[in-house]
Amino acid sequence: MNLLRIYVKSILRGRKVLIYTFLLCFGLIIYVPFIMIMLRSVGKNWFGRLWLPPELTLDWYRWAVEVTKIFRITANTLIIAVIAVAISTLIGIPTGWAFGRRKIPGKELLMAMILLPRMIPPIAYALGIAQVFYRLHLVNTHFGVALAHVAICAPYAILVLSATIEGLDERVLEASAVCGANRFKTFFHVILPLILPGILTSIIFTFTASYNEFTLTLMTYGKDTVTLPVRTYLAIGEGYWEVTSAMSIILVIPSIFVLFMIQRQVTPEKLVGGFKGV
């Protein structure tokens, strides 16, 4: 405790050196694992106490493409993510509307209920989903895996969209009605453009969630619906660390790219938080 006190004290005294050392360590511990993966994926004959691989090669990427059929797996992952995003958005818009603009008795409680799948460990209901899907023959279909992802993605979509829809200005809707637009027209020409940023945010978040989802996929995948995270896991089990690293780089680059791309448009903080004070 005393040590901590001295530590905090010195930081508070504005010692820039200490602060930057802290930030440097922080940056290092976050990014160096990815550098390690990157080096492992292009290194050859990297044994013993060497800081860098002695020879460079792209063999592991070739292996990843040829042996693990990474293009098909990427296609699987994307198809599943697109289906999951579409279903979640279609669920999110009406339900978000109900939460944002209609009077519902016990709204808070209902919202907490909808968010429950994010509180309970996924493995607990993934077991049930697997059993139900086996019975319905949904296992090993793209639609089935995507539907399992919806269990995680839909709460995200509902949360983001209800916040967006709640922020709609009532007067705009009234103006539209006064100008003689019917409900249909109002929805497509007034409401939809207004909530489009919210829908985009929701799409990005649900897509990321589905793209990275592992637990639910592991319980419902089959040989035709292997996704990138599952394939990475299987490759780690097989012990091919170099090939696994190559696959991981292919898997991780879109994620980081998306993060840096969207940081100006949407506050990526929401990706992590999302709860209003639990």
Partner: protein
């Protein structure tokens, strides 16, 4: 007439809510119930009721060590995350050069798949990883690589790496919404920096820390992919559940019973955790 329109409005609300409710009941509630029923059936049979799946797991000494391990891992990771997040948030608050970059850096562990993060950490802290090369280079008395992977401290470190962003983000946003006048007032009143931090800032941002650390705790408690590949011989509950259905023949009832125990423990721990922290922050 009035009653009619009321009814109609309720109908509209319900039909708007319907997709969300169908999703909740179809993809969460019903599977949960299936798990409950399965956990009460004898292994491999669809009829009969029994508690044997719970008893046979809970009566072993292994059950206790698994539960203690799960609890200890997630609690230590949460505490470590809080310590780290408060320091990080206090620094990032000052908006030094490059703070935007570090804000994004903070999100990286949550944006990339947990498996990849764990893989990178395993490579970094492995016996041939950069961490051990650095330690052996700097401290001449360290001759053998330090074993971090597949140990409990290593797992705690991995958990913290993966789940601290929840705590860090809420702490940072609580800190930034703080009225600067309060600190100035404490400063004027003659409190030194440590006292300002201890008695003014920390109590005020406690709700933020609490909200974030609950998320960290829940995520760490339910962590699955990390202990699966980086746990070695240490198996928390989630991996223990998965191992049951990874067997041939799969033991669905045993797995379901463990899953129910896990879900119940999660709810109990959360209630206790919230209560303790609420009392603290008061």
């Amino acid at each position: 007439m009035r009653r009619g329109s009321n009814l109609r409005s309720t109908g509209v609300t319900l039909s708007l809510l319907l997709p969300g409710l169908v999703c909740f009941f179809g993809l969460f509630f019903y599977p949960m119930m299936v798990t409950v029923v399965r956990s009460l059936r004898p292994e491999g049979s669809d009829t009969g009721w029994t508690l044997v799946n719970y008893i046979s797991f809970l009566s072993t000494t292994k059950a206790r060590s698994v539960i203690v391990l799960t609890f200890m891992l997630s609690l230590s990771a949460t505490l470590l995350s809080i310590l780290f997040s408060v320091a990080l948030a206090l620094i990032l608050r000052k908006k030094l050069g490059g703070h935007r970059f570090f804000r994004l850096t903070m999100l990286i562990p949550r944006v990339v798949p947990g498996l990849i993060g764990a893989l990178g950490l395993l490579l970094l802290f492995g016996s041939r990883g950069w961490f051990n090369l650095l330690v052996m280079g700097v401290f001449p008395f360290v001759e053998k690589p330090i074993q971090i992977n597949y140990t409990v401290p290593g797992l705690i470190l991995f958990y913290t790496w993966l789940y601290f962003p929840f705590t860090a983000l809420t702490t940072l946003s609580a800190l930034e919404s703080l009225d600067p006048g309060i600190e100035e007032a404490a400063d004027v009143a003659g409190a030194n920096k440590w006292h300002v931090l201890r008695y003014v800032i920390l109590p005020l941002i406690m709700p933020g820390i609490l909200a974030g650390s609950v998320l960290t705790f829940m995520a760490a408690f339910g962590a699955f992919s990390i202990p699966l590949i980086a746990g070695g011989n240490y198996r928390p509950l989630s991996v223990e559940i998965y191992k049951q259905i990874d067997l041939t023949p799969a033991r669905w009832s045993a797995a379901s019973a463990r899953a129910m125990i896990m879900a119940m423990l999660q709810v109990i721990f959360l209630t206790i955790y919230m209560r303790i922290l609420r009392r603290r922050s008061r």
